[in-house]
C-alpha cells in the first residue's frame, strides 16, 4: 500500500514536471524545425530535419546580442539599486518599532496592491522631466526600489530573534554593523529569493522598455523579440522561438544556480532563540 502511494506521488510529480517542461521542449523543437513544420498537422515530436536558420535571423535581424547586453545592464542595475534600498528599508520596518515605521509598513502593504500599470504614465512623465528617457538610466531608475522586495525581505528579517540583535548591540555594534554583519547573512536566502524574482521580472519586462525606449541601441530582449511578432505581417515563429531560447537560457542558468537559495528563501527558515 505504501509502495503504491509512493508510486502515485512519483507519477504525479513526473506528470507535473512533464507539463511544466513541455512548453520549453516545444519552444526548442519549433526553433530548430523548418518553418513549414511549425504548424504541420498532428504532433511531430521531432523535426524531420534540423533547421537553425531561425537562430541566425534572431541573432542578426533581432540584434539579440546587443539586446542581451542591454538587458543584463538593466537587470543587474535594477537589482543592485533595489538591494541597496530594500534591505535597509526592510530592516527598519522589521526591527525598528515606532509610529513612523508603522505608517511606512502600511504604505508598503498598500503599495503591494497597486498594479504596476497604474504608475506607468506618471513614471514616464517623471523620466522625461528628469531628462533620462530613452537612456539606460530611464530603464533602471524607475525600479530602484520595490515594495514587494521590502515586504519579502522584511518577513525574512522578522524571523531573526530580537535577542540576537540585542546581543550584537551589547557588543557595541551600531545599526549598520548589525545590518551588514548579522541581518544580511541570516536573511541571505530571502534576499536571494527576491533577487531571482527581480531578475526574472525585469529581464522579461516588455511594457516599460516599450514606452521608455526609442533608440535601437537600447532595445531589451523582449523588445528585440517583438520584431518577429508583427500583427500586420504575421509572426516568424522559428525566429521568435529561437530568440526565446537564446533569451531564456541565461535565466534558466541563473535559476539553476540560485535554486537552493530560492527555495530556502521562499519556504522561510525560523531561527529559534
Amino acid at each position: 500500500m505504501r509502495i503504491l502511494s509512493r508510486a502515485a506521488v512519483i507519477v504525479a510529480i513526473c506528470g507535473a514536471v512533464a507539463v511544466s517542461l513541455f512548453p520549453f521542449y516545444w519552444m526548442v523543437r519549433t526553433s530548430v524545425a523548418p518553418a513549414d513544420e511549425t504548424f504541420s498537422q498532428g504532433i511531430s515530436w521531432v523535426p524531420t530535419r534540423i533547421d537553425l536558420s531561425g537562430y541566425g535571423r534572431a541573432w542578426t535581424s533581432g540584434e539579440l546580442g546587443r539586446a542581451m547586453v542591454v538587458g543584463l545592464v538593466q537587470t543587474l542595475g535594477i537589482l543592485a539599486l533595489q538591494l541597496v534600498t530594500c534591505v535597509p528599508a526592510a530592516y527598519v520596518l522589521a526591527k525598528v518599532r515606532n509610529r513612523a515605521t508603522g505608517v511606512a509598513l502600511t504604505m508598503v502593504l498598500v503599495g503591494l496592491l497597486v498594479p504596476s500599470q497604474v504608475t506607468l504614465i506618471p513614471l514616464f512623465v517623471g523620466v522625461n522631466v528628469l531628462g533620462i528617457a530613452d537612456s539606460i538610466s530611464g530603464l533602471i531608475l524607475p525600479f530602484c526600489t520595490s515594495t514587494f522586495g521590502i515586504y519579502l525581505i522584511r518577513q525574512q528579517i522578522m524571523s531573526i530573534p530580537d535577542a540576537l540583535l540585542d546581543a550584537a548591540r551589547a557588543d557595541g555594534l551600531g545599526h549598520v554593523r548589525r545590518l551588514t554583519s548579522v541581518v544580511i547573512p541570516i536573511a541571505a536566502p530571502g534576499i536571494a529569493a527576491f533577487s531571482v524574482f527581480s531578475v526574472f521580472a525585469h529581464w522579461n519586462e516588455y511594457l516599460w522598455p516599450l514606452l521608455a525606449v526609442r533608440s535601437a541601441e537600447l532595445r531589451t530582449p523582449p523588445l528585440a523579440l517583438a520584431a518577429f511578432q508583427q500583427a500586420d505581417v504575421g509572426y516568424d515563429y522559428p525566429a521568435l522561438t529561437a530568440g526565446a531560447v537564446i533569451v531564456t537560457a541565461p535565466i534558466v542558468v541563473l535559476f539553476l544556480l540560485a535554486q537552493r537559495q530560492f527555495v530556502h528563501g521562499m519556504s522561510g527558515t525560523e531561527i529559534t532563540e
Binding site: P88, M107, V125, V129, G174, Q230, D232, G234
Partner: protein, 433 residues
C-alpha cells in the same frame, strides 16, 4: 551615530516608497500643426527631423534617410524605431511622446487611425504634388479625409482569402478562383469539412474585425460608413454580408479562432482550408507553408458575388510637425520614403504589401521573388477606400471593441440580426458623442 542613522534609514524607506509608487503630473497638451513652408527657405543645419516608425518600415526609412543625408548633409535626422507589435501599441507610444513634449515630425500611421490623428493632433495635409511621378495616386484615397490627403499610404494591404488548393482538390471542392460568393464558400467548405471531419474555415475576430466587416459589406457593393461618419451597415445588405460568421457557425464550418496569428497558423498547418486575413500576411504564410501544400490568395467572397472596393489596410506617412521648416523637410522625406527604392524596400521582397509605386510594382512582379501568391499583392491594382472613416477619432478604439464583441458573438452562433443591430446602435451612440 545611532540617532543620526535611524532618521536616515527612515528617510531612505520613505524615499523608496515614494519612488516605488509615485510620479509627476501630466505633460504638455497637443498643439496645432502649422503648414509646411517652402523647403528652400529652410536651413537644414537649424532643423532636427524626428521620425517614429514600426519595424516593417525600417528598410524604407534607411533608404530615405540615406537620400536625405545626401541632399541635406547638415540636417540631423533622429529615428525612433519603436518595437511595437500593433498600430494600437505604436499610437499609444507616440501619444505618450507628444504628452511629454516630444512630438515627432513624421510618423507612420495605421490607415484605420487617420481620423484619430487628424482630430486629436491636427496634422498638416501631405503635399501630394511632391510625391514621385511613379507613385500610384489612386492609393491616396486611402489616406484622404474630408477631401484632404493627411496620410501618404506606404505599405498597403487588402482583406483577402487564402485557400488550401490541395485540400479542395482532395475533397472535390473545385478551384479557389471559383469561390466568389458565400454560397460558393459554404459549398466548398462543406465538402472539405466532410472529408476532414472538422471545421475548415477560419475568420479571426480579435485583431481586425472592423476591417473584415468593412470588406464584407463594401465587397458586396454596400455602404459601411455614411459620408458623415455614422454606421451604414445596419441595412439588409450589410446584415447579410456581416452574418457570414454566424452562417458558418450554424453549419459548424468555422474553427472559432479569435486571434489572427492563430488563424494564420491553423491555415499554415493545414487545419483550415480557408483563411480570411490581410494580404500583408502572404509573404509570411508562404514562408511557413513552403512546399507543404498548394495554396492561393483570392478576393474575399461576398454575399452576392459582387467585387466592390476593399478598405485599404496597412499604413502610411503622416506629418505631425509643429514647425513649418521641419514639416517641409518631412514632406520631402515622404517623397524619398515613397520613391521606387523606398517602396521596393517597404513592399518586397520579404513583405507582401501592395506596392504604391508603379515602377516598384513592375520590378517586384518581374523579380525571382514573385510567386503566384505574392503576385496577388504586388499586382493588386483595384480601387481602395479608406479604412473606417468614423466620426470622432477619439473613440476609434471603442468602435473596434464594438466590432470585436459583435464578431465574437456571431462567431459563437448568436443570431445575426439583433447582434448586428446592437453593434450599429453602440457605434452610432459612440460617434454621436
Amino acid at each position: 551615530m545611532r540617532r543620526r542613522l535611524l532618521p536616515a534609514l527612515s528617510a531612505l524607506t520613505a524615499g523608496s516608497l515614494l519612488l516605488a509608487g509615485c510620479g509627476p503630473g501630466s505633460g504638455p497638451a497637443a498643439t496645432q500643426v502649422t503648414a509646411p513652408t517652402d523647403v528652400a527657405k529652410c536651413d537644414p543645419a537649424k532643423s532636427t527631423l524626428t521620425i517614429s516608425h514600426q519595424p516593417p518600415a525600417a528598410e524604407a526609412v534607411a533608404v530615405a534617410k540615406q537620400r536625405m543625408a545626401a541632399r541635406y548633409p547638415n540636417l540631423k535626422i533622429n529615428v525612433n524605431a519603436l518595437q511595437t507589435k500593433t498600430y494600437d501599441e505604436f499610437t499609444r507610444a507616440v501619444v505618450a511622446d507628444i504628452a511629454v513634449g516630444k512630438r515627432p515630425d513624421l510618423i507612420i500611421s495605421g490607415l484605420g487611425q487617420i481620423r484619430f490623428w487628424m482630430e486629436q493632433y491636427k496634422p498638416a495635409p501631405i503635399d501630394a504634388a511632391a510625391l514621385p511621378a511613379t507613385y500610384r495616386k489612386q492609393f491616396l484615397s486611402a489616406g484622404t479625409l474630408d477631401g484632404k490627403v493627411y496620410v501618404a499610404p506606404a505599405q498597403v494591404s487588402v482583406p483577402m482569402m487564402a485557400v488550401n488548393q490541395t485540400l479542395l482538390r482532395k475533397a472535390g471542392a473545385g478551384d479557389a478562383a471559383g469561390i466568389r460568393t458565400y454560397d460558393d464558400l459554404i459549398a466548398a467548405a462543406r465538402k472539405v469539412t466532410a472529408m476532414t471531419r472538422r471545421p475548415s474555415v477560419t475568420v479571426a475576430t480579435y485583431n481586425i474585425p472592423d476591417w473584415l466587416s468593412q470588406g464584407f459589406v463594401q465587397g458586396a457593393g454596400g455602404t459601411f460608413v455614411t459620408g458623415d461618419g455614422r454606421p451604414a451597415f445596419g441595412d439588409k445588405l450589410g446584415g447579410d454580408a456581416i452574418s457570414l460568421w454566424s452562417r458558418l457557425k450554424r453549419e459548424d464550418l468555422e474553427l472559432g479562432i479569435v486571434m489572427d496569428a492563430d488563424s494564420q497558423a491553423a491555415f499554415a498547418g493545414g487545419t483550415a482550408a480557408f483563411l480570411m486575413t490581410s494580404s500583408a500576411s502572404i509573404a509570411g504564410l508562404q514562408k511557413s507553408i513552403g512546399d507543404s501544400f498548394e495554396w492561393m490568395p483570392v478576393d474575399l467572397p461576398t454575399v452576392n458575388g459582387q467585387r466592390g472596393p476593399m478598405p485599404a489596410g496597412g499604413n502610411g506617412w503622416l506629418v505631425l510637425s509643429d514647425d513649418p521648416c521641419r514639416a517641409a523637410f518631412a514632406n520631402t522625406m515622404i517623397g524619398d520614403l515613397l520613391s521606387t527604392d523606398g517602396v521596393m524596400a517597404a513592399s518586397g521582397t520579404s513583405y507582401s504589401y501592395i506596392p504604391v509605386d508603379s515602377a516598384a510594382a513592375e520590378r517586384l512582379l518581374a523579380s525571382d521573388a514573385a510567386t503566384p501568391q505574392t503576385k496577388y499583392a504586388w499586382g493588386y491594382d483595384r480601387e481602395l477606400t479608406p479604412w473606417g472613416g468614423w466620426r470622432r477619432g477619439e473613440v476609434t478604439g471603442q468602435i473596434v471593441d464594438a466590432f470585436r464583441t459583435m464578431a465574437q458573438r456571431l462567431q459563437s452562433g448568436a443570431d445575426a440580426g439583433p447582434t448586428i443591430q446592437t453593434a450599429v446602435r453602440a457605434i452610432d451612440s459612440l460617434v454621436s458623442g
